[in-house]
């Protein structure tokens, strides 16, 4: 599937805004991405949020990614 990235994450993927990855869960997705783009790891500490078909997941890395879903990665949101 195609995973879209935005914000400061794009830097760690050498400017790419989307990549092809196969993964069944968020954990798998992030592990594979970090294998390929180690600089992404820095962002993990600050937190990454994932949107699967429009629903934002902040922390639950076991969340399954259904086949054919649209996946976005962006920096984690904080609030006031």
């Amino acid at each position: 599937m195609e995973v879209f990235l935005s914000g400061s994450l794009v830097d760690s993927l050498n400017g790419l805004t989307s990549v092809e990855v196969e993964a069944k869960t968020i954990r798998e997705l992030l592990t594979r991405l970090i294998d390929r783009y180690p600089r992404l790891e820095d962002h993990l500490e600050e937190g990454i949020a994932v949107a699967i078909d429009g629903t934002i997941i902040r922390d639950d890395w076991e969340t399954p990614i259904p086949v054919g879903s649209e996946v976005f990665l962006f920096p984690r949101i904080i609030g006031g």
Partner: protein
């Protein structure tokens, strides 16, 4: 995900207007806030702060202060762990609590003193001799990016870009160049917003106690006692389990109490003195050395077809982060165009360092500034196109299925309904007089979930304790008790909610991002459901029937099936009474990362009157329309809307950090940093829309933040309609308005 099951739920307790459980304590003066706790043998601590915006600390001589009778401990950075090699975030946090080699802003702490009383501590501060070497400083976000600007944090400087530019967050879709090429009308403008403070009335305060065996306690006013615990323990090398942090009643936070400021120093002083230490910031310290919000400077460009279809939009906004990096620009970039569906859009948020205090979150952080620029530009676009501003917004509004600028595709969202409610609101027909004008603007905020852990215990008489780890900043205990009562089928009065200290529950994320009622409410529901499972088992035992035959309805166990028709229902109280002989205490527990937070939108209407003689703007009428998801306690939802709007009004008209040429803050008190008072405001009308959040069993969204987003733009638009001048800088204070009127020849 768009399961409609959540709609049409019938609630018994949710949605009613019960009395909050902490009301009596708070109207009788009994409630204990940060500064209201004392301990035997306690010392009073004060901080010495830098009078310079930027200076090298060459030497600190504490010997005289230490010798003053009654002084029990003096601390400088030399007494604190050197985290230079460690985690950058922790290093920054500690350096912000106490300057190491350089003072980075006016008010940066350089030494702390603990003494037997306040007057002794004050004398000791005067005896500390600090030798500074003044360095060049910069406090304006645009100046900070000039070639000759001093570099605030060389270790964050990156090759190939300005040393004060930390990073950029870029969001959007499509091809903006092509989009603008297709546009018939393009409006491009620059804007600035001043730096504001959350302005909570309760200053930061804590009571710290660390003993030589490595255990400690911290009583503190905070939005996140677990994160304070984790941070302080790591900074001071303590075991997390051995530091117990208790959150006091909190006198307002709005994001400013999500981060530690002087608390690690209070703990360090207590450890050094081996006595409890109480530390309370003065108002001046709150302004100078806690975390206000960013000032910004931006360019907004929006292009549309003649029929009003917006085809391209671009925003670039520089966020002044203070002396330490944050993610503020990134959040701004994500929110900029969230209310609209624009095929080609790009929003860039840039994080910039200056010699000002470290910025913290302030209610929907970073969104109001971008919204000021975007909503002001859309209004100007509507004038150029000759289309009504509300209709123009409706024409381009984001809907279910629209892709948000930062990626996700919206589920059911409320921006269109809020705009329709605005269009149809009687406020839009109220008559306006001379020098009066009306403005409308929209706003968006994400809302978040996060780690949550709650405990629900049923007592022998069937009353219930719900212990949560999120704090109650304005009625959360009432809302959470309502949720537990709803789920268990008992009365609101039978549930007592407590805020647990850090030793009583697992980790809970900070109460920020409007997550308190959303996520602890979710945890309460699931904890109650687990307790119901236990209740059913116990009822089965009491009846000697299989548990499969027991159902839970209206707060009672019922035996299902004809063969059990002789068994009359057992209430929760009946079962609780027998708990001792059916297996012991009955409880439910839930820990999880709450996902599924629902985004929220608001549209506001404001009428103003501008006095052309003085430049003063008076708010005549104000209406907030916001999507709350399911409103648990409507009074407190309305209160959040009104409070957020009032803060936005202050930001729009008056509030602003003013720095002198010397880089020092000139208005560090409520007299000169003027927040709205009762006579400044009209009654703020509210309309709650309840578009359920499919990610929550009751459809709850967060409600606390969104309504601080629209006021800046709405008021700017109203001022323009009142006196014909467009304001490009916030706050629209009387001198700025007079200047604009003067320049326009009005």
């Amino acid at each position: 995900m768009n399961d409609p099951k959540y709609t049409g739920q019938e609630f018994k307790v949710i949605g009613s207007r019960v009395k909050r459980p902490d009301g009596i304590d708070k109207v009788t003066g009994r409630a204990r806030y940060g500064a209201d706790m004392n301990a035997p043998g306690q010392l009073v601590a004060l901080m010495l702060r830098s009078p310079h915006a930027h200076a090298r600390i060459k030497k600190i001589d504490i010997s005289k202060a230490e010798k003053l009778p009654g002084v029990k401990a003096v601390i400088t950075a030399a007494d604190l762990p050197d985290l230079t090699e460690g985690n950058a975030g922790l290093f920054d946090t500690l350096e912000n609590s106490m300057a190491r080699d350089r003072a980075l802003y006016d008010g940066h702490a350089v030494a702390g003193v603990a003494a037997i009383d306040k007057s002794t501590a004050k004398k000791a501060l005067k005896l500390i001799k600090v030798t500074y070497e003044k360095l060049p400083h910069v406090t304006d976000v645009d100046d900070a990016l000039e070639d000759d600007a001093p570099i605030i944090q060389p270790r964050y400087a990156t090759e190939g870009q300005h040393g004060n530019l930390i990073n950029k967050g870029e969001f959007g879709q499509g091809d903006i160049d092509q989009g603008f090429a297709e546009a018939d009308v393009i409006v491009e403008r620059s804007y600035k917003t001043g730096q504001t403070h959350q302005g909570y009335i309760e200053p930061h305060a804590c009571l710290a106690s660390v003993s030589p065996d490595g255990t400690g306690e911290l009583w503190v006013t905070t939005q996140g006692h677990y994160s304070y615990r984790n941070t302080c323990a790591q900074l001071l090398g303590m075991d997390i389990a051995k530091l117990k942090v208790t959150s006091s009643e909190i006198g307002g936070g709005f994001g400013g109490k999500t981060h530690v400021w002087m608390e690690p120093i209070a703990l360090a002083l207590s450890r050094k003195a081996n006595r409890p230490v109480k530390m309370v910031m003065s108002r001046e310290e709150v302004f100078k050395a806690s975390g206000p919000t960013c000032s910004t400077s931006m360019e907004i460009k929006i292009g549309a077809k003649k029929d009003g279809t917006i085809v391209a939009a671009r925003a670039e906004c520089r966020y002044m982060n203070g002396a330490f990096p944050g993610m503020w620009g990134t959040l701004g970039g994500m929110t900029a165009f969230a209310c609209y569906s624009i095929p080609n859009n790009k929003a860039i948020g840039v994080n910039v360092l200056c010699n000002r205090p470290k910025v913290a979150a302030y209610r929907a952080p970073s969104a109001p500034m971008m919204a000021f620029g975007v909503e002001s530009t859309i209004d100007q676009l509507s004038k150029e196109l000759g289309i009504d501003p509300v209709e123009l917004r409706l024409k381009n509004v984001a809907r279910e299925g629209t892709q948000a600028p930062y990626g996700p595709v919206w589920g059911p969202i409320g921006i269109e309904p809020t705009l329709e409610a605005v269009r149809d609101h009687p406020h839009m027909k109220a008559k306006l007089g001379k020098n009066q004008g009306r403005g409308v603007a929209c706003g968006f905020w994400f809302n978040i979930g996060g780690q949550t852990c709650s405990d629900l215990n049923i007592g022998p008489d069937g009353t219930v304790n719900l212990t949560v780890g999120t704090i109650d900043v304005g009625g959360a205990r009432a809302s959470l008790a309502m949720i537990a009562a709803e789920e268990l089928g008992i009365t609101y009065e039978d549930v007592k909610v407590n805020i647990g200290d850090t030793s009583s529950l697992g980790h809970n994320d900070t109460t920020e991002g409007s997550r308190g009622t959303f996520s602890s409410g979710m945890a309460a529901i699931f904890a109650a459901r687990k307790a119901v499972d236990v209740l059913k088992e116990r009822a089965a035992k009491m009846w000697q029937i299989p548990v499969e035959s027991v159902i839970w309805e209206d707060g009672s166990a019922r035996a299902n099936g004809k063969e059990h028709s002789n068994l009359s229902p057992l209430t929760l109280k009946d079962i609780a009474k027998k708990a001792g002989s059916t297996g012991g205490p009955i409880a439910g527990h839930h820990e999880a990362t709450a996902e599924g937070a629902g985004v929220s939108f608001a549209s506001h209407i404001v009428d103003v009157e501008v006095d052309p003689e003085t430049g003063k703007t008076q708010i005549l009428r104000y209406t907030v329309v916001q999507d709350a998801g399911k409103a648990i306690h409507p009074d407190y939802v309305e209160g959040q809307f009104q409070g957020a709007a009032a803060q936005g009004i202050g930001w729009a008209l008056n509030e602003e950090y003013i720095y002198g040429k010397d880089g020092r803050l000139q208005n560090s008190g409520f007299l000169d940093y003027r927040i709205p008072v009762c006579s400044d405001l009209p009654s703020i009308d509210t309309k709650i829309l309840e578009i359920p959040n499919p990610g929550h069993p009751y459809g709850i969204r967060g409600v606390g933040e969104t309504s601080i987003v629209p006021p800046l733009g709405a008021i700017g638009n109203a001022v323009s309609n009142a006196v014909g001048v467009r304001m490009y800088e916030v706050p629209m204070s009387p001198p700025r308005i007079l200047k604009a009127l003067d320049e326009a020849g009005v």
